[in-house]
Subunit: 349 residues, 3 copies
């Protein structure tokens, strides 16, 4: 039994990771190789040459076809051998071909039943291809179950402790948190009024040409959507102008973008980033935000990996589900429901 949904789209790679050389990466326990065909379309195959089991990701792409680096078997994008020097390949067993789509600067892959894959069910991301928005981000490989990262992002009180020097502040702890379900999404939100902006947001205010030393209203709206995406609307506005609803001229706002893709039971790929609707053409700003965010998110890694280690050493031990954990709890329920639906053959979309 898989412990993650299979019949759904996951982010497998950033677009720029899949270039001339094939990329090997395990997604949801499936060893995959990613490359581009002659039309520059992303292809995902099982990373296993049907000839002798060599990893295809050690090969190279020639005329849009993946050639095994061991004995030259050339794969078709459908997972069937296309040719091999001096051989007839018609009877060769195929390898898995995973539906793959490129959108919003990412390669999305469907690790489960290809017949059920429908690009129309990809998430609709307003910032993904809109000229008013800019995105920057990175990728971390983290040795913990993907649920622990979802928990992390759906309960931002940890910012007070782990990120005390950048985005944490005591008021996060003190602000009441509200969690609700909207269809298949879990939403957790927190609003703080008339507080001092922490260092990261002071920087953002300055980048927006706003005073960084005046009281602000701050918000955090975490939105989990299946299978494992967490988008967090975050921002500050000069106090008293409506907070989240304040006009653009007095606020700095953005969306923390988190695609959390299982690798194994105890590891995942963490695609983190930030989408912003101000100064979208300022590449230097994108770099500075990426650098700051990358540093912040790296602070979570030791905690998450050691938490996984502790849980592995204490199997079956119950964890608490407090009100601050409600977002993660709801997200896990949604994930578990999707897994159960796949088991009984239902539609997981």
């Amino acid at each position: 039994m898989n412990t993650w949904p299979m019949n759904t789209w996951y982010v497998a790679a950033r677009s720029d990771e899949v270039a001339a050389a094939p990329l090997g990466r395990t997604i949801c326990g499936e060893r995959m190789v990613f490359y581009r065909d002659q039309d520059h379309r992303a292809v995902a195959l099982e990373d296993f040459c049907p000839h002798r089991g060599a990893p295809l990701s050690l090969g190279k792409v020639s005329d849009g076809k993946l050639v095994c680096g061991y004995h030259g078997l050339t794969m078709g994008c459908d997972g069937r051998a296309a040719s091999m020097p001096g051989q007839r390949v018609r009877g060769f067993p195929p390898v898995k071909a995973y539906p793959a789509v490129e959108r919003y600067g990412f390669i999305w892959v469907w690790p489960g039943d290809p017949a059920q894959a429908d690009p129309a069910t990809l998430p609709n991301l307003i910032w993904g291809d809109h000229p008013d928005w800019a995105y920057g981000g990175g990728l971390y490989h983290i040795k913990c179950n993907f649920r622990l990262m979802i928990d992390n992002l759906m309960d931002l009180t940890h910012e007070t402790y782990i990120h005390a020097d950048s985005i944490g502040q005591k008021e996060i702890d003190e602000a009441p948190v509200a969690t609700r379900l909207e269809d298949d999404e879990a939403i957790t939100e927190r609003y703080m009024s008339d507080i001092q902006a922490p260092p990261f947001w002071q920087m953002a205010l300055r980048e927006n040409g706003l005073a960084d030393d005046v009281p602000v209203d701050r918000w955090q709206i975490c939105r989990f959507s299946p299978p494992s995406h967490v988008m967090i609307e975050v921002g500050v506005a000069h106090a008293g102008h409506g907070g989240y609803n304040a006009p653009d001229g007095v606020k700095a706002a953005s969306i923390v973008v988190d695609f959390i893709t299982p690798e194994s039971e105890t590891s995942h790929w963490y695609f983190w980033g930030m989408a912003r609707r101000f100064k979208p053409d300022d590449a230097g700003l994108t770099d500075r935000i990426r650098e700051g965010q990358g540093k912040i998110f790296s602070e979570d890694m030791e905690m998450l990996e050691r938490q996984q280690d502790n849980l592995t050493a204490n199997p079956g031990r119950n964890l608490l589900k407090l009100n601050i954990d409600a977002g993660g709890v709801h997200a896990r329920r949604i994930i578990d429901r999707l897994i159960r639906m796949e088991l009984v053959g239902g539609d997981a979309a």
Copy 2:
């Protein structure tokens, strides 16, 4: 079934290791966190936050209470949650609190049933807090079962081979060894007469203002006491003055102090050191001895870890029990008896 006694005191840390930052360390298979409360008293708790399983050792101590570094749960020294921002903690499940005592410059911990813990059963160490004595030492983490280290220390013929350049000499091999039991202790002793002092002891003679190039009598009295302490009275005296019983003016003598604390079946914490009754106020001498001893004891590590590796690869293979091994054999019997007594509920003290 544990393969070490649990209802007994082990050295868990040097006093100076438990300071401002909490210390995570596994003792007898139990993941523990050590810190100091407001009265500077050492506390040992299970290293597992009851909230989400984060290691408490990644947190920090605030006003003598341990605050989890993930979401701010504050632990009481009794293993019960004391407070958490915005939460009532009364119903939170407790974690284990281990009896801990600070004495002789070490933190001692009782990994078993807390109800049986009695500080009166701590060993009585004459050198531990006496102004005539000085102690210096260090800590090694060694990847072998703690019994192999006890064997090592209860049979010093290995000095001839492993420590040939410092304390080893052919005469150790040639001197007869006597082993006896005293209550719960195993004692192995060896006396050499009219020999040349090896380099380490020449240094000690010089530090005592004694000639280092004259014949000496040398002694080694290894004393195992449960659960896993080995104290070795060692020394040399100018030959013909009574050896072990010679007056202080013609000898250099000290106690090799070894606390051997299980971590897992195949690893342990080795607290090594030397207590001496000469020049107790000479801190420079303490440092020089520590440096020399640390180098000597590091020579055992590869042998012990590779021996463990060999034994793991050859389970069930019988080892020889020669007369030189009698000390280790007796020590293992005492350990096994303590384990059995715990199994039937007897008093292990």
Copy 3:
């Protein structure tokens, strides 16, 4: 059940690896220690001191006897304890003594039943001690089953892909391959006519004082012999002079020498080298060839180790057996037959 023959000779070490210090090495799952006795003869014992299980390879050789580095037990070359300070050793349990023979610059060992070991069954290597020949080579430790290396060497089409810059060329793929059995040997051969020599062979032509820019005939004759040796006759001759049978004056020819010794199910020792019948006294040439060959063979390592990793993750998955794989398929059958014969007690020689 072993997955390799045990009652046969394997190369365990190069002669120059077994010198003053004993050498520990696992051969066919057996932890062995190699050293030389007083007559400079190679000895192979189980790397396990019968006293306390210390690895004998941490000891030293004294007067041709191996002395354990822990407590001084001295081993005889027959695996029986010879002496120990202050001990009678007659009753000590012996450790295994493995038949060992030095020949052709290698130490050969028989990991199975010593009673069946017969040096007369060592392979007869014409280049091994003939003044017209020179040999140079090296050793790689590779984390894959030894069969994958045999496959690799019995199907040289991989040269086109893995060694494209040195010995690979498109014509290898295009040349028909013929495989046959000769007694207990599997032979795979390939002949190419009137082609351009690849860089490695251009170098070899130049070293022979021959033009390197004229068309050549090229041959590859791979010969597997049990348990796991692959000798490959390789060479080029100026085109039209008879190829493999051309006179010495127009060709550069040599034997690629591969001894492939299992360590564990997923690792082996790869003794690679080249024997040549030209300029046998040119040590500089030997070095240059070794360097070139070492670089070429290192290119296979990532592929082989990742192939093993892929196969371990996909147990039971069938691989293809194409005509190019016939050499490896035959070799595996011979190996399997030897293993079965050992199981029923037959003669495996």
